[in-house]
Amino acid sequence: MLTAVLVPESLDAARAALADEARPLAGGTYLMPRLNDHATPPTRLVSLRRVGLDGIAVTADTVSIGATTTLARIEDDERLAVLHSCIRSIAARPVRTLATVAGNLFVRQPYGDLAVALLALGADVEIRGGAGPRTLPLDRMLSAGLAADELVTGVRFDRPAVFRYHKAGRRRFNSASIVTVAAVLSVADGVVHDARVALGGLAPRPLRCEPAERALVGRPLDEASVRAAAHAADPLIEPVDDAYASAWYRRRVFPVHLRRALLGH
């Protein structure tokens, strides 16, 4: 039961309102279904819709996206074409119009495909708390979480040379993830020099997969190295059973989707 929905108009006002045992509400596409569907205890929400954290800034090298920027706004911004295959793999337009970048960092798997992409992109998360602003790599934030008085204010990443994204769902459009793979690769003279690989659908949270990266670096990008990368990732993944796929199925098809993501076939 919602007992209050506050709509502050500044970040400071939002943080003050959150101090009163309230939860932040961004797009509501994850939180509201749970509030609509269950007899929840009395809940106070602080909407971030009007706090002024939306916006996109793109330079030659970097991309900065405000926390409450909607997925639809990214989809409509030609400068962010690198993210478009990811965004279009998430839900459908009437949900993407509400869903936000920062919200996507906090949803449970098998949702949160943008978080997987941002993890591969090596994104930093900008955070505001009582001690002032700080910046944390996304993989650290995903494992450590935030302090109670902190809010994400934005994400930032360097524009990649080569970004690969592949998602397997139950159907072509609008499905949660069975397996999601995102990767930033740097390949020169036929050899992988650098790789950042992130996985979705295969663990309780988006997974940066360093063993797979090590299996790729220094080798040609081909079937053998990708197979080795999948093998290296296997001990790290902890897929679960859900309505979309069984844990067994996810583990079984993961190497196929890693190959499709990295080699395109």
Binding site: M1, V7, R44, A91, P94, T97, L98, F173
Partner: protein
């Protein structure tokens, strides 16, 4: 926290309503304003039948606490036809293509299609499939709905949703 007054412009008319914190945009439209064309399906954001245009963009209205969108412009299915009740080209295309059976999904299908055609006036079949992927229909098998949207685009894309 007490209820509060929310102001919306709905289908071009200014409206004022009293909303409890838990009142969604969907419920405000149906129960406060009597605009029952917008349907409540899953209340999870998964079926699309409650889709309306919020400041011109399609949203699943079941997930929006109405107090967070005070001052917004909303278009519902009741706002598609012209003042004399004449159907919009999109609505007429749905009628001509038999794009509804039980009709429960139709308002959401119309609003999502309306937004799709504004963004993409001449969509491909694939773009219509993708555009409607968040709207569930359990009767038609989707083919007549997709045909209606393509038909509407071919008729007068400029007029659709006007």
């Amino acid at each position: 926290m007490p209820s509060q007054i929310v102001t919306l412009t709905v289908n071009g008319s200014p409206q004022e309503l009293i909303a409890h914190p838990s009142t969604t945009l969907l419920r405000a439209l149906r129960e406060n304003l009597g605009l029952t064309g917008t349907k409540r399906g899953c209340a999870q954001g998964a079926c699309g039948t409650c889709t309306v245009l919020l400041d011109g963009e399609p949203v699943v209205s079941c997930l929006v606490p109405v107090v967070t969108v005070d001052g917004a412009e909303v278009t519902t299915v009741e706002g598609l036809a012209d003042a004399d009740g004449g159907l919009s080209p999109l609505q007429q295309a749905f009628l001509d293509n038999f794009a509804q059976q039980c009709g429960f999904c139709t308002p959401g299908m119309l609003m999502t299609s309306c937004a799709l055609l504004r963004r993409t006036p001449a969509p491909t079949r694939d773009e219509v499939d993708e555009g409607l992927s968040g709207n569930v229909c359990r009767c038609t098998g989707y083919e007549p709905i997709v045909a209606a949207v393509l038909d509407a685009a071919g008729r007068t894309s400029a007029e659709v949703g006007s």
